[in-house]
Protein backbone atom coordinates (compact mmCIF):
# COMPACT_ATOMS: atom_id res chain seq x y z
CA UNK A 1 0.00 0.00 0.00
CA UNK A 2 1.46 3.28 -1.02
CA UNK A 3 1.52 5.83 1.79
CA UNK A 4 -0.84 8.67 1.18
CA UNK A 5 0.89 11.92 0.60
CA UNK A 6 -2.34 13.85 0.82
CA UNK A 7 -5.53 12.84 2.70
CA UNK A 8 -6.27 9.26 1.86
CA UNK A 9 -9.35 7.45 3.02
CA UNK A 10 -8.63 5.05 5.88
CA UNK A 11 -11.03 2.51 4.32
CA UNK A 12 -8.13 1.45 2.15
CA UNK A 13 -6.52 -0.10 5.20
CA UNK A 14 -9.19 -2.78 5.24
CA UNK A 15 -8.58 -3.71 1.65
CA UNK A 16 -5.19 -5.19 2.17
CA UNK A 17 -5.52 -8.25 -0.01
CA UNK A 18 -4.93 -8.35 -3.73
CA UNK A 19 -7.80 -8.03 -6.18
CA UNK A 20 -8.56 -11.60 -7.22
CA UNK A 21 -10.45 -10.64 -10.34
CA UNK A 22 -9.09 -9.79 -13.70
CA UNK A 23 -9.95 -6.56 -15.42
CA UNK A 24 -12.60 -6.79 -18.09
CA UNK A 25 -15.24 -9.02 -16.63
CA UNK A 26 -18.79 -9.33 -17.84
CA UNK A 27 -20.72 -7.19 -15.40
CA UNK A 28 -22.76 -4.18 -16.43
CA UNK A 29 -21.19 -0.75 -16.24
CA UNK A 30 -21.84 0.72 -12.83
CA UNK A 31 -23.05 -2.50 -11.23
CA UNK A 32 -22.38 -2.58 -7.49
CA UNK A 33 -22.34 -6.37 -7.65
CA UNK A 34 -18.93 -6.14 -9.33
CA UNK A 35 -17.67 -3.96 -6.52
CA UNK A 36 -19.16 -6.30 -3.92
CA UNK A 37 -17.53 -9.34 -5.49
CA UNK A 38 -14.15 -7.61 -5.69
CA UNK A 39 -14.43 -6.25 -2.17
CA UNK A 40 -15.08 -9.60 -0.48
CA UNK A 41 -11.77 -11.32 -1.29
CA UNK A 42 -9.89 -8.04 -0.79
CA UNK A 43 -11.02 -8.17 2.81
CA UNK A 44 -11.31 -11.90 3.44
CA UNK A 45 -8.15 -12.93 1.66
CA UNK A 46 -7.44 -15.57 -0.93
CA UNK A 47 -8.19 -18.60 1.21
CA UNK A 48 -11.83 -18.54 0.44
CA UNK A 49 -14.07 -20.66 -1.69
CA UNK A 50 -16.95 -19.02 -3.49
CA UNK A 51 -20.10 -21.07 -3.80
CA UNK A 52 -22.56 -19.64 -6.22
CA UNK A 53 -25.31 -20.37 -8.61
CA UNK A 54 -26.80 -19.16 -11.87
CA UNK A 55 -27.14 -15.42 -11.34
CA UNK A 56 -25.54 -12.20 -12.53
CA UNK A 57 -22.47 -13.32 -10.60
CA UNK A 58 -22.25 -16.71 -12.29
CA UNK A 59 -20.64 -15.90 -15.64
CA UNK A 60 -17.75 -14.24 -13.86
CA UNK A 61 -17.43 -16.21 -10.64
CA UNK A 62 -17.72 -19.58 -12.22
CA UNK A 63 -15.25 -19.04 -14.94
CA UNK A 64 -14.96 -21.07 -18.06
CA UNK A 65 -13.48 -24.35 -18.95
CA UNK A 66 -10.13 -23.10 -20.17
CA UNK A 67 -9.68 -20.33 -17.68
CA UNK A 68 -11.50 -17.97 -15.42
CA UNK A 69 -11.97 -14.38 -14.54
CA UNK A 70 -10.53 -14.73 -11.06
CA UNK A 71 -7.99 -16.67 -9.00
CA UNK A 72 -10.42 -17.98 -6.40
CA UNK A 73 -11.54 -21.52 -5.85
CA UNK A 74 -15.19 -21.89 -6.54
CA UNK A 75 -18.04 -24.31 -6.83
CA UNK A 76 -20.94 -23.46 -9.07
CA UNK A 77 -24.07 -25.36 -8.23
CA UNK A 78 -27.78 -25.46 -8.92
CA UNK A 79 -30.03 -22.72 -7.52
CA UNK A 80 -31.33 -24.99 -4.80
CA UNK A 81 -27.94 -26.13 -3.63
CA UNK A 82 -25.85 -23.19 -2.53
CA UNK A 83 -26.05 -23.41 1.26
CA UNK A 84 -25.96 -27.21 1.26
CA UNK A 85 -23.02 -27.40 -1.14
CA UNK A 86 -21.18 -24.93 1.06
CA UNK A 87 -22.00 -27.21 3.97
CA UNK A 88 -20.38 -30.16 2.24
CA UNK A 89 -17.24 -28.14 1.49
CA UNK A 90 -16.99 -26.55 4.91
CA UNK A 91 -17.48 -29.84 6.75
CA UNK A 92 -14.76 -31.53 4.76
CA UNK A 93 -12.30 -28.62 4.98
CA UNK A 94 -12.73 -28.47 8.73
CA UNK A 95 -12.44 -32.22 9.07
CA UNK A 96 -9.21 -32.29 7.11
CA UNK A 97 -7.80 -29.17 8.75
CA UNK A 98 -7.81 -27.01 5.61
CA UNK A 99 -8.02 -23.34 6.48
CA UNK A 100 -10.78 -21.92 4.35
CA UNK A 101 -13.60 -19.44 4.43
CA UNK A 102 -16.54 -20.85 2.54
CA UNK A 103 -18.61 -18.01 1.13
CA UNK A 104 -21.97 -18.42 -0.52
CA UNK A 105 -22.56 -15.57 -2.91
CA UNK A 106 -26.06 -15.44 -4.29
CA UNK A 107 -28.73 -13.03 -5.29
CA UNK A 108 -31.95 -12.40 -3.45
CA UNK A 109 -33.80 -14.76 -5.79
CA UNK A 110 -31.75 -17.69 -4.57
CA UNK A 111 -31.63 -16.63 -0.93
CA UNK A 112 -35.24 -15.63 -0.42
CA UNK A 113 -36.95 -17.94 -2.90
CA UNK A 114 -35.63 -21.10 -4.48
CA UNK A 115 -32.59 -21.57 -2.26
CA UNK A 116 -34.25 -20.58 1.00
CA UNK A 117 -34.82 -24.10 2.31
CA UNK A 118 -31.14 -25.10 2.35
CA UNK A 119 -30.20 -21.64 3.63
CA UNK A 120 -32.59 -22.01 6.53
CA UNK A 121 -31.33 -25.56 7.13
CA UNK A 122 -27.68 -24.53 7.13
CA UNK A 123 -28.42 -21.69 9.55
CA UNK A 124 -30.27 -24.07 11.86
CA UNK A 125 -27.35 -26.51 11.79
CA UNK A 126 -24.98 -23.60 12.49
CA UNK A 127 -22.73 -24.56 9.60
CA UNK A 128 -19.45 -22.68 9.44
CA UNK A 129 -20.18 -20.69 6.34
CA UNK A 130 -20.69 -17.06 5.33
CA UNK A 131 -23.81 -16.59 3.28
CA UNK A 132 -23.78 -13.31 1.40
CA UNK A 133 -26.93 -12.21 -0.38
CA UNK A 134 -26.62 -9.33 -2.82
CA UNK A 135 -30.10 -7.97 -2.89
CA UNK A 136 -31.15 -6.34 -6.12
CA UNK A 137 -34.80 -6.95 -5.34
CA UNK A 138 -35.62 -9.30 -8.16
CA UNK A 139 -34.35 -11.68 -10.82
CA UNK A 140 -32.16 -9.25 -12.63
CA UNK A 141 -30.06 -11.80 -14.51
CA UNK A 142 -33.08 -13.22 -16.32
CA UNK A 143 -34.59 -9.83 -17.08
CA UNK A 144 -36.08 -8.15 -14.02
CA UNK A 145 -38.74 -10.55 -12.81
CA UNK A 146 -40.15 -10.22 -9.32
CA UNK A 147 -38.72 -12.17 -6.41
CA UNK A 148 -39.97 -12.29 -2.85
CA UNK A 149 -37.41 -9.56 -2.09
CA UNK A 150 -39.13 -7.20 -4.53
CA UNK A 151 -40.81 -4.36 -2.63
CA UNK A 152 -44.48 -3.48 -2.89
CA UNK A 153 -45.30 -1.34 -5.87
CA UNK A 154 -42.12 -2.11 -7.81
CA UNK A 155 -42.40 -2.41 -11.55
CA UNK A 156 -40.92 -5.70 -12.76
CA UNK A 157 -41.46 -7.73 -15.91
CA UNK A 158 -43.74 -10.14 -14.05
CA UNK A 159 -45.53 -7.43 -12.06
CA UNK A 160 -45.82 -4.82 -14.80
CA UNK A 161 -47.59 -1.53 -14.53
CA UNK A 162 -50.54 -1.27 -16.90
CA UNK A 163 -54.17 -0.33 -17.05
CA UNK A 164 -54.85 -2.48 -14.03
CA UNK A 165 -51.43 -3.56 -12.80
CA UNK A 166 -49.73 -1.29 -10.31
CA UNK A 167 -46.50 -3.16 -9.78
CA UNK A 168 -45.95 -5.84 -7.17
CA UNK A 169 -49.04 -6.00 -4.94
CA UNK A 170 -47.40 -7.47 -1.82
CA UNK A 171 -44.54 -6.35 0.33
CA UNK A 172 -41.14 -7.96 0.31
CA UNK A 173 -39.91 -10.71 2.58
CA UNK A 174 -38.00 -9.02 5.40
CA UNK A 175 -35.06 -11.30 4.83
CA UNK A 176 -32.52 -9.98 7.37
CA UNK A 177 -35.22 -10.28 10.03
CA UNK A 178 -36.15 -13.79 8.87
CA UNK A 179 -32.51 -14.77 9.19
CA UNK A 180 -32.21 -13.05 12.57
CA UNK A 181 -34.87 -15.43 13.87
CA UNK A 182 -32.51 -18.30 12.99
CA UNK A 183 -30.16 -16.75 15.56
CA UNK A 184 -27.01 -17.02 13.44
CA UNK A 185 -23.64 -16.47 15.11
CA UNK A 186 -23.40 -13.24 13.18
CA UNK A 187 -25.70 -11.32 10.91
CA UNK A 188 -25.19 -7.99 9.19
CA UNK A 189 -26.65 -5.74 6.56
CA UNK A 190 -24.30 -3.72 4.40
CA UNK A 191 -24.14 -1.66 1.28
CA UNK A 192 -21.48 -0.22 -0.95
CA UNK A 193 -22.05 3.43 -0.08
CA UNK A 194 -20.58 2.61 3.33
CA UNK A 195 -17.43 0.67 2.48
CA UNK A 196 -15.81 0.92 5.89
CA UNK A 197 -18.90 -0.44 7.59
CA UNK A 198 -18.99 -3.25 5.00
CA UNK A 199 -15.32 -4.11 5.44
CA UNK A 200 -15.57 -4.21 9.23
CA UNK A 201 -18.54 -6.52 8.96
CA UNK A 202 -16.72 -8.81 6.56
CA UNK A 203 -13.76 -9.06 8.93
CA UNK A 204 -16.08 -9.87 11.78
CA UNK A 205 -17.85 -12.41 9.59
CA UNK A 206 -14.58 -14.20 8.90
CA UNK A 207 -13.93 -14.58 12.60
CA UNK A 208 -17.50 -15.52 13.48
CA UNK A 209 -17.70 -18.14 10.73
CA UNK A 210 -15.17 -20.14 12.72
CA UNK A 211 -17.83 -20.42 15.40
CA UNK A 212 -21.03 -20.70 13.43
CA UNK A 213 -23.28 -19.47 10.70
CA UNK A 214 -22.93 -15.97 9.28
CA UNK A 215 -25.46 -14.16 7.12
CA UNK A 216 -24.75 -10.88 5.36
CA UNK A 217 -27.39 -9.04 3.38
CA UNK A 218 -25.94 -6.58 0.89
CA UNK A 219 -28.14 -3.96 -0.72
CA UNK A 220 -27.12 -3.94 -4.34
CA UNK A 221 -29.19 -1.83 -6.77
CA UNK A 222 -29.34 -2.94 -10.38
CA UNK A 223 -28.74 -0.02 -12.75
CA UNK A 224 -30.46 -1.85 -15.61
CA UNK A 225 -33.48 -3.41 -13.90
CA UNK A 226 -34.20 -0.49 -11.61
CA UNK A 227 -33.54 1.96 -14.39
CA UNK A 228 -30.93 4.09 -12.67
CA UNK A 229 -28.20 6.08 -14.40
CA UNK A 230 -25.10 3.95 -14.13
CA UNK A 231 -23.15 6.66 -12.29
CA UNK A 232 -25.85 6.95 -9.65
CA UNK A 233 -25.90 3.51 -7.99
CA UNK A 234 -23.70 4.47 -5.03
CA UNK A 235 -25.98 7.43 -4.46
CA UNK A 236 -28.99 5.07 -4.49
CA UNK A 237 -27.28 2.94 -1.82
CA UNK A 238 -26.66 6.05 0.24
CA UNK A 239 -30.26 7.18 -0.14
CA UNK A 240 -31.50 3.76 0.96
CA UNK A 241 -29.53 4.16 4.18
CA UNK A 242 -30.52 7.81 4.74
CA UNK A 243 -34.22 7.01 4.40
CA UNK A 244 -33.97 3.92 6.63
CA UNK A 245 -35.19 1.94 3.62
CA UNK A 246 -32.12 -0.21 4.20
CA UNK A 247 -30.84 0.34 7.74
CA UNK A 248 -27.31 -0.76 8.54
CA UNK A 249 -27.20 -3.11 11.50
CA UNK A 250 -25.58 -6.25 12.76
CA UNK A 251 -26.42 -8.97 15.26
CA UNK A 252 -24.19 -11.26 17.23
CA UNK A 253 -25.97 -14.33 18.54
CA UNK A 254 -29.30 -12.84 17.57
CA UNK A 255 -28.79 -9.53 19.44
CA UNK A 256 -29.30 -6.74 16.90
CA UNK A 257 -27.61 -3.35 17.05
CA UNK A 258 -27.59 -0.48 14.56
CA UNK A 259 -24.14 0.18 13.19
CA UNK A 260 -25.27 3.48 11.75
CA UNK A 261 -28.04 5.48 13.34
CA UNK A 262 -29.48 7.97 10.85
CA UNK A 263 -30.03 11.23 12.70
CA UNK A 264 -32.83 12.65 10.57
CA UNK A 265 -34.19 9.96 8.27
CA UNK A 266 -35.33 11.41 4.95
CA UNK A 267 -38.74 10.56 3.45
CA UNK A 268 -38.87 7.55 1.14
CA UNK A 269 -39.54 9.75 -1.88
CA UNK A 270 -35.91 10.83 -1.77
CA UNK A 271 -35.00 7.21 -2.47
CA UNK A 272 -37.72 6.33 -4.97
CA UNK A 273 -37.17 9.39 -7.17
CA UNK A 274 -33.66 8.17 -8.00
CA UNK A 275 -34.97 5.28 -10.10
CA UNK A 276 -37.71 4.67 -12.58
CA UNK A 277 -38.96 1.37 -11.20
CA UNK A 278 -41.08 3.37 -8.77
CA UNK A 279 -41.85 6.27 -11.12
CA UNK A 280 -45.52 5.25 -11.44
CA UNK A 281 -46.12 5.44 -7.68
CA UNK A 282 -48.73 7.92 -6.46
CA UNK A 283 -48.85 9.72 -3.15
CA UNK A 284 -50.82 6.96 -1.43
CA UNK A 285 -48.42 4.30 -2.72
CA UNK A 286 -45.50 6.22 -1.30
CA UNK A 287 -47.36 6.67 1.97
CA UNK A 288 -47.94 2.94 2.15
CA UNK A 289 -44.28 2.33 1.35
CA UNK A 290 -43.31 4.74 4.11
CA UNK A 291 -45.67 2.95 6.50
CA UNK A 292 -44.11 -0.47 5.74
CA UNK A 293 -40.66 1.02 6.13
CA UNK A 294 -41.53 2.70 9.44
CA UNK A 295 -43.12 -0.49 10.74
CA UNK A 296 -40.03 -2.52 9.89
CA UNK A 297 -37.68 0.02 11.33
CA UNK A 298 -39.73 0.23 14.53
CA UNK A 299 -39.51 -3.54 14.86
CA UNK A 300 -35.76 -3.40 14.40
CA UNK A 301 -35.44 -0.62 16.95
CA UNK A 302 -37.56 -2.55 19.43
CA UNK A 303 -35.38 -5.61 19.01
CA UNK A 304 -32.25 -3.49 19.35
CA UNK A 305 -33.65 -2.01 22.54
CA UNK A 306 -34.68 -5.40 23.88
CA UNK A 307 -31.18 -6.74 23.56
CA UNK A 308 -29.51 -3.94 25.46
Amino acid sequence: MVEATKKRNRVFDYYCEEDQFSGGVAWCAGCPLELTARTIPKVLGKNMVFVGTPSCAAPVLHGQNMGAWHYLSYLACVMTGVASSATGLSRYFRRTGQDATVVCFTGDGCATDIGFQPLSGAAERAEHIIYITYDNEGYMNTGNQRSSATPRGAHTSTTPVGKVGRGKPTQSKNMPMVMLMHRPRYLATATLSHPEDFAKKLLKAKEMAREGFVYIHVFSPCPVGWRIDSNNVIEVCRAAVRTNYFPLWEAENGQPRLTLEVANPRPIAEFTRLMRKFSHLKEDDLAEMQRILDERFALLKTLCGASK
Binding site: N9, D19, S22, Q64, Y71, D229, V233, I234
Partner: protein
Protein backbone atom coordinates in the same frame (compact mmCIF):
# COMPACT_ATOMS: atom_id res chain seq x y z
CA UNK B 1 -20.12 -52.82 -41.58
CA UNK B 2 -20.37 -51.24 -38.16
CA UNK B 3 -17.31 -49.42 -36.89
CA UNK B 4 -17.05 -49.41 -33.13
CA UNK B 5 -16.67 -46.06 -31.46
CA UNK B 6 -13.20 -45.26 -30.14
CA UNK B 7 -12.66 -42.79 -27.36
CA UNK B 8 -10.56 -39.86 -28.53
CA UNK B 9 -9.52 -38.68 -25.07
CA UNK B 10 -6.98 -40.83 -23.32
CA UNK B 11 -6.93 -39.01 -20.02
CA UNK B 12 -9.51 -37.64 -17.71
CA UNK B 13 -9.57 -33.91 -17.07
CA UNK B 14 -12.98 -32.67 -16.27
CA UNK B 15 -12.41 -29.29 -14.71
CA UNK B 16 -11.44 -25.74 -15.39
CA UNK B 17 -8.14 -24.56 -14.03
CA UNK B 18 -8.14 -20.88 -13.24
CA UNK B 19 -4.38 -20.68 -13.08
CA UNK B 20 -3.99 -21.26 -16.79
CA UNK B 21 -5.10 -17.86 -17.93
CA UNK B 22 -7.52 -15.16 -17.11
CA UNK B 23 -9.96 -14.37 -19.83
CA UNK B 24 -10.35 -10.66 -20.28
CA UNK B 25 -13.06 -8.93 -22.19
CA UNK B 26 -12.49 -5.73 -24.06
CA UNK B 27 -14.74 -3.85 -21.64
CA UNK B 28 -12.89 -0.68 -22.58
CA UNK B 29 -14.89 -0.71 -25.79
CA UNK B 30 -18.18 -0.57 -23.84
CA UNK B 31 -17.55 3.06 -22.92
CA UNK B 32 -19.52 5.93 -24.37
CA UNK B 33 -17.95 8.46 -22.05
CA UNK B 34 -14.44 8.60 -20.67
CA UNK B 35 -13.39 9.93 -17.24
CA UNK B 36 -10.81 12.66 -17.64
CA UNK B 37 -8.96 13.89 -14.53
CA UNK B 38 -8.35 17.53 -13.72
CA UNK B 39 -5.12 17.13 -11.72
CA UNK B 40 -5.51 20.56 -10.20
CA UNK B 41 -8.70 19.51 -8.41
CA UNK B 42 -7.55 16.01 -7.31
CA UNK B 43 -6.36 15.69 -3.72
CA UNK B 44 -5.66 11.95 -3.92
CA UNK B 45 -8.42 11.02 -1.43
CA UNK B 46 -9.06 7.79 -3.27
CA UNK B 47 -12.85 7.75 -3.14
CA UNK B 48 -13.00 7.30 -6.91
CA UNK B 49 -10.86 4.17 -6.66
CA UNK B 50 -12.85 2.94 -3.70
CA UNK B 51 -16.18 3.09 -5.48
CA UNK B 52 -15.00 2.09 -8.95
CA UNK B 53 -16.86 -1.18 -9.70
CA UNK B 54 -14.21 -2.73 -11.99
CA UNK B 55 -11.50 -1.40 -9.64
CA UNK B 56 -9.63 -0.10 -12.63
CA UNK B 57 -8.33 3.20 -11.24
CA UNK B 58 -4.56 2.99 -11.18
CA UNK B 59 -2.70 4.46 -8.23
CA UNK B 60 -0.16 6.95 -9.66
CA UNK B 61 1.22 7.94 -6.25
CA UNK B 62 -0.37 11.35 -6.23
CA UNK B 63 -3.56 10.70 -8.18
CA UNK B 64 -5.73 7.95 -9.69
CA UNK B 65 -6.12 7.41 -13.39
CA UNK B 66 -8.47 5.02 -15.14
CA UNK B 67 -7.12 1.94 -16.92
CA UNK B 68 -8.91 2.56 -20.20
CA UNK B 69 -8.52 -1.08 -21.29
CA UNK B 70 -11.16 -2.02 -18.75
CA UNK B 71 -13.00 1.15 -17.73
CA UNK B 72 -16.65 0.67 -18.70
CA UNK B 73 -17.41 4.37 -18.42
CA UNK B 74 -20.06 4.09 -15.73
CA UNK B 75 -19.18 7.54 -14.38
CA UNK B 76 -19.24 6.61 -10.71
CA UNK B 77 -15.77 8.10 -10.18
CA UNK B 78 -16.97 11.43 -11.51
CA UNK B 79 -20.18 11.31 -9.53
CA UNK B 80 -18.54 10.33 -6.25
CA UNK B 81 -15.55 12.63 -6.39
CA UNK B 82 -16.20 15.29 -3.73
CA UNK B 83 -14.11 17.83 -5.67
CA UNK B 84 -15.52 17.13 -9.13
CA UNK B 85 -12.04 16.27 -10.42
CA UNK B 86 -13.27 13.82 -13.05
CA UNK B 87 -15.17 15.00 -16.06
CA UNK B 88 -16.98 12.57 -18.36
CA UNK B 89 -16.08 13.33 -21.95
CA UNK B 90 -17.88 11.63 -24.87
CA UNK B 91 -15.68 9.00 -26.50
CA UNK B 92 -16.32 10.49 -29.89
CA UNK B 93 -14.04 13.37 -29.04
CA UNK B 94 -11.09 11.00 -28.73
CA UNK B 95 -11.65 9.23 -32.02
CA UNK B 96 -9.31 10.26 -34.73
CA UNK B 97 -11.58 10.44 -37.76
CA UNK B 98 -8.64 10.38 -40.16
Amino acid sequence: MVVKHKNIFKTEGTWSDARKLLLKLDTGSWRTERPVLDREKCNYCGLCALYCPPQCLLDRGDRYEPNLDFCKGCGICAKECPRGAFGMVPEGEFIDEG
